[in-house]
């Protein structure tokens, strides 16, 4: 039986606890009991993401993630989806720069099925992987790319900003969705090699959270995963080290069929897992999170030059994190007016730091986001995996909110002064085509809501809820009725 150390409740974690274990083959396991609802979440993080991809094979990690749902030795076709959904569970998988995760939330009495399914594909995917799945999922992923990026206004903004702020050759230079040309070029052999290289128990963390019997759960994990051989052939990702500052203001202007001018920018920020990153999170929240932020008050309320203005943070552990500014202009307002106002606000913030009221608000907002995140078994399972894979210690998930609340205004000011500077950003300006240009170039449309949600992860299945409201984004609404 695997052994490991046991942690106890930490202050500020709401009484949540997690225990850690390791199988002989290297699979790390994190368990967390919570008997309030008869559900159990299974989450498996593989320590591989788009940063591990090589030139001319961008998008392979995500395409491969789709193939993980196409059957394994004992699971035929779409059996993975069919069995989980038929058991009253929900499931998906997503791929980001730094990891690939697979997750099932099950009624508690169906937990063993989810473990069996994850083990079957971890140990035997190649028994089922064939050309038919490869060709089919290649088409599906290309349609995913069209739907989420190519057929929506501003859809490629994140991809462009990433490419600017992480230079050519850097592992984060390209986003997980990859390019159409590389998706076309990927071969079945590439997929097989990818699996053999990265999909091994010693390159993964499994968490199980919810209404579970830990001893029984560990026994099942040992039974199903224990015989999967470990594998040491993993290629480390290329070095993601970059200077703290870009060193100059990079800039790209796009003339495209978009509904309004936009100013976007990406800033290089401290790595995830540091106090400085938490301080940056608070800085971006004060400046551009919610309806009482400095940029919202300045641009949307007072100047009325923007329809929406905000900042989002993409935390990254293996490269500088990315702060994403997104401002859509109002009416005929020109970008330089917006840019001057943004720079003025950032400079003022760097000089003065946050007020105590702003600190209180930003910390309250981020605290609620953490309570939301840890309020479901699936959210908790994902965070435990995240801290285990990226920082080697799942317990850090349970104290993350405490660390955010511990940051001082001085630290927030310091990171803003050091990082939120014009010479540390890539700027992307959108200029709509004129009417004549539109006719010549054609229209491909959609909307941009606000800043914040960087499309930094791709999923196996569409998670957009179907909707027939003319005005609302699917995610804003409850969706299909039952």
């Amino acid at each position: 039986m695997p052994m490991g150390h046991t942690a106890t409740a930490q202050a500020g974690s709401g009484g949540l606890t997690a225990t850690e274990h390791r199988l002989a083959n290297g699979l790390r396991v994190v368990l967390s009991e919570d008997h309030l609802t008869p559900v159990a979440a299974v989450c498996l993080w593989y320590d591989v993401g788009s940063r591990h991809e090589v030139k001319s094979r961008t998008g392979l990690a995500h395409l491969f993630e789709h193939l993980m749902f196409q059957g394994s030795a004992q699971v035929t076709g779409n059996g993975h989806f069919e069995l989980v959904q038929g058991a009253g569970g929900s499931l998906n998988g997503t791929t980001s720069f730094e990891r690939t995760n697979y997750f099932e939330t099950m009624p508690a009495h169906q937990l063993e099925l989810a473990l069996w399914l994850e083990a079957d594909r971890m140990g035997s995917l190649l028994a089922a992987l064939d050309d038919e799945s490869m060709e089919n999922q290649r088409d599906v992923v290309k349609n995913e790319r069209r739907q989420r990026y190519d057929n929506v206004p501003y859809g490629t903004a994140f991809e462009r900003l990433t490419a600017l702020v992480y230079p050519e050759g850097h592992p984060y230079h390209h986003t997980p969705i990859g390019s159409m040309a590389d998706l076309d070029a990927a071969t079945l052999e590439d997929a097989r090699a990818f699996f053999s290289t990265y999909y091994a128990p010693n390159n993964a963390v499994l968490s199980v959270v919810g209404d579970i019997d830990p001893e029984q759960t560990l026994a099942w994990i040992e039974k199903y995963f224990g015989s999967i051989p470990s594998h040491e052939g993993k290629q480390p990702p290329r070095d993601g080290v970059l200077p703290d500052l870009v060193g100059e203001q990079l800039r790209q202007e796009i003339r495209e069929e978009v509904p309004a001018r936009a100013l976007m920018a990406a800033y290089r920020l401290p790595h995830d897992g540091t106090r400085e990153c938490d301080a940056a999170d608070l800085a971006l929240t004060v400046l551009g999170g919610g309806e009482s932020s400095r940029l919202h008050n300045r641009l949307v309320r007072r100047d009325q030059t923007a329809v929406a203005a905000g900042f989002g943070l993409l935390r990254l552990a293996g490269a500088p994190s990315l702060g994403w500014l997104d401002v859509k202009t109002s009416g005929g307002v020109e970008v330089p007016a917006i840019e001057a106002a943004v720079d003025e606000e950032l400079a003022r913030f760097a000089a003065e730091g946050p007020t105590s009221e702003e600190m209180e608000r930003a910390q309250a907002q981020l605290e609620r986001e953490w309570l939301d995140r840890l309020g479901t078994v699936a959210g908790r399972a994902d965070e435990l995996c995240r801290f285990a894979v990226l920082f080697g210690d799942p317990q850090l998930a349970l104290t993350a909110v405490r660390r955010l609340l511990d940051i001082t205004p001085e630290e927030v000011q310091a990171v803003a002064a050091a990082r939120l500077r014009p010479d540390n950003r890539a700027v992307l300006v959108y200029e709509p085509l004129s009417a004549e240009e539109t006719e010549a170039a054609g229209d491909d449309g959609s909307a941009g809501q606000t800043a914040g949600a960087a499309p930094a992860a791709e999923s196996a299945e569409t998670d957009d809820t179907a909707e027939t409201d003319e005005n609302s984004e699917p995610a804003e609404r409850e969706g299909a009725d039952q």
């Binding site: 078994v377 054609g442 909307a447 005005n471 009725d481």
Partner: protein, 462 residues
């Protein structure tokens, strides 16, 4: 299958354990002295409390030519009160770690507050202030109107929203509020001012026609006191029930292409209307619709995605438009998704073939069983958070359904057979009574779509 690649011990698929009982939570229903209906529901462990307010201010109550006034009013509620300016109000709310969202839809205005339980009292006080004494200052309403006008081009550019707008216009008679965008058009929004917002508020917002649903870990909360201090201070007169206009739709089979030259995909939205949740057939319709297009392994995606690779996903679903106590309401029945431009014709041909096969051969017992197991089985997952429970309870209120509707629906689903589910799915999606909206490159897709013979095809500008 080659044994060479399997180096692990294979075990047979495990059997399920003993299911643990779970039931959709039953709320306690009561009323405050001011007439406000209150549903409360204790959910242990849910530290973020969800408060969902339904106001009896439906879109069909908007004055002629002022479509969007309900939306502007909903947004203006949190833009200043008798005690706080707009900026102060937003700041105070965020100081509680709260989020507040308000939107107007056909049945009425909904306001959703989420806040850590430790700050519930303070946040509910702010919410009560917004409901009781909104400032509706001229300059704030003007700003909201301009902001809303700025949003419209973004919505038109979005293929899914553009399709939804066209479908509403096609399905419903021009005189029906449902034929027009929920949040108004450039022309109507531009007419809205503070006086119009206040008039709409005074006519349609009062505690007697509102309901508050409060869900979360309420163990340490003296909710009666909190409510008396906050929402209890809201006053207003009573109102006669509003007559609810009938819902009619023209579902003559036809196709409208919204032209987007150069689009790499076609957004498709295929719809008509059908019964709402008051109908006896509702559980069968839920089941049948799920089997048709509820998930990746349903009939549509099995062909369009997993066999042909035409799409990232196509879904069939129902969405209640508006209900009435006399069960005269309706729901939208729809199929939506995006397919790549060159395969638009083939994808629609396959989609219609799926519908024809369903009508000819029906669902299988295995499909029905899997659907029931999923729909019923996922309930404890789906309702893990306070917000999801509050949303469903508030929907029930808004749709004039009993508080135990969802709980009984699960029993109803389990009792629904394959034959009933088939009949409901076939009558929900008859091949000759579907209005198809395609947002895509007409020069590429018009010809192939005409060849399908799924109805008259017209092309409109994007």
């Amino acid at each position: 299958m080659s044994d060479a690649v399997v180096t692990m011990d294979l075990h047979p698929q495990p059997a399920a354990g003993q299911p643990k009982p779970w039931a959709f939570p039953a709320p306690d229903r009561g009323a405050l002295g001011n007439g406000l209906t209150v549903l409360r529901c204790h959910r242990p462990g849910q530290q973020v409390v969800a408060v969902d307010i339904s106001l009896g201010a439906p879109l069909d109550a908007e004055p002629e030519g002022l479509d969007g006034v309900a939306t502007i009013m909903a947004r203006a509620l949190s833009e200043g009160t008798d005690k706080h300016s707009a900026e102060e109000f937003a700041a105070e709310l965020e100081r509680c770690g709260a989020t507040l969202d308000a939107h107007a839809d056909h049945p009425g205005v909904r306001i959703a507050l989420e806040v850590p339980v430790s700050r519930l009292h303070k946040a509910l006080g702010l919410l009560a202030e917004a409901l009781r004494a909104p400032a509706f200052a001229d300059h704030e309403v003007e700003r909201l109107v301009r902001n809303r006008l700025d949003e419209i081009p973004h919505e038109k550019a979005n293929p899914a929203r553009r399709a939804a707008k066209e479908l509403s216009k096609e399905l419903f008679p021009a005189a029906s509020r449902m034929s027009r965008p929920r949040q108004g058009t450039e022309e109507t929004v531009a007419q809205i001012d503070a006086a119009a917002v206040r008039a709409f508020y005074e006519a349609h917002v009062r505690p007697a026609t509102a309901t508050a649903v409060i869900v979360g870990d309420l163990a340490g909360v003296d909710l009666d006191t909190v409510l008396a201090d906050t929402l209890g201070a809201w006053t207003g007169d009573s109102a006669a029930p509003r007559p609810v206009p009938a819902i009619t739709a023209d579902d003559t089979g036809r196709v409208v292409i919204v032209d987007r030259p150069g689009a790499v995909q076609t957004q498709l939205l295929i719809g008509r209307i059908g019964p709402d949740r008051h109908d006896r057939q509702w559980p069968a319709q839920v089941l049948g619709t799920y089997c048709l297009g509820g998930t990746l392994t349903s009939r549509l995606d099995r062909v369009l995605r997993e066999e042909k690779g035409y799409t990232y996903g196509v879904r069939a679903f129902t969405q209640v438009l508006r209900s009435a106590p006399d069960a005269s309401g309706a729901a939208m029945l729809a199929i939506s998704g995006s397919v790549d431009t060159p395969n638009t014709g083939p994808a629609l041909r396959d989609l219609w073939q799926v519908l024809r096969t369903l009508a000819a051969e029906g669902l299988t017992d295995a499909e029905r069983d899997a659907a029931v197991q999923n729909l019923v089985g996922v309930a404890p997952l789906k309702y893990e958070t306070a917000a999801s429970v509050a949303g469903t309870l508030a929907d029930q209120v808004e749709q004039f359904l009993p508080d135990d509707f969802q709980a009984r629906l699960y029993a109803g689903l389990a009792e629904t057979g394959t034959v009933e589910a088939t009949a409901a799915a076939v009558s929900a999606f008859p091949v000759d009574r579907l209005v198809t909206i395609l947002v895509g490159d007409a020069s590429q897709i018009e010809g192939p779509v005409r060849e399908l013979g799924i109805g008259q095809v017209t092309v409109v500008a994007g």
